[in-house]
Amino acid sequence: MRCEELSDDLAATADGSVLLGRNERRHVERCLRCQAELVQYRKVLRAMRAMRTEVLEPAPGLLSDILANLEAAGERRAIRSMIQGHRAAYLGGLAAATAAGAAGAIVYANRARRVRAAS
């Protein structure tokens, strides 16, 4: 087995997502180059994980910019929902008026039919 064939699996082995087969393990146990590569991947991964707790301080002003943007977005949303509310009320009124008109027409037609039948 050549080191190059194993190279792709070494990084994944370092983070535990891949387990080497018997032949590969045997090669790594005898090969200083692959062992060194594995150790290097482990060091890189450890250093990366340690970065997780590191917080980089932003330049002043970012927090106030974020809050100002949120304020503006909140206002836009309130205006939009108000407009939508007005639109809903208008459409609701229109629907109610149409329904009332239709009901009136039906009542009128029925009454006219009854009068015609009686005469």
Binding site: E54, P58, A59, N69
Partner: protein, 190 residues
Amino acid sequence: MPQDVAHLVTAARDGDRAAFDELVRATYAETFTLALRLTGNEEDARDVVQDAYIRAFRGLSRFRGDAQFSTWMYRITANCANTHMVKRAKHRHEVLDEANPIADDRPASDPQLQADATALRSRLTDALEDLPPKLRQVVVLRDIYDLPHEAIAAELGISETAAKVRLHRARKKLREDLFPRRVEEAADAV
């Protein structure tokens, strides 16, 4: 999720704007750190953070609360950073070429001398900045922020297979950058 953050999330989801502002105060530095690591540029990172909080504010009702708020913010930030970088690349007419090799203009050095963890961390930060953006995004999200492949793929708009391939290439480049082979070793290998 820390108790205070959980309370703030609940209150913010119920429409409490002050609670959402408090959430921003509690998390913005961490979100900025991720954005800076993804974009490699402070100005871009500031834009990404602002977009991310606007999206979070609009989408808070969809946050189920079974995940950590920070993880949810990481995903939103990753998505915003990706959108931002794609827009920027189009604007500059630059091609984000994954295959573009990164030249190592630093002199080869003895790996033994690089064993010190602090030095390694500082060099790692530089090496991350030197990675092509597409590789950097994946390795930062996976190896620093521990997001699963599935989430990374979803937020970056790529397949899981592509995410895994990029991760492998990024790790390889980082290792080669941090532990360059000595000239005589390279010659022996030929």
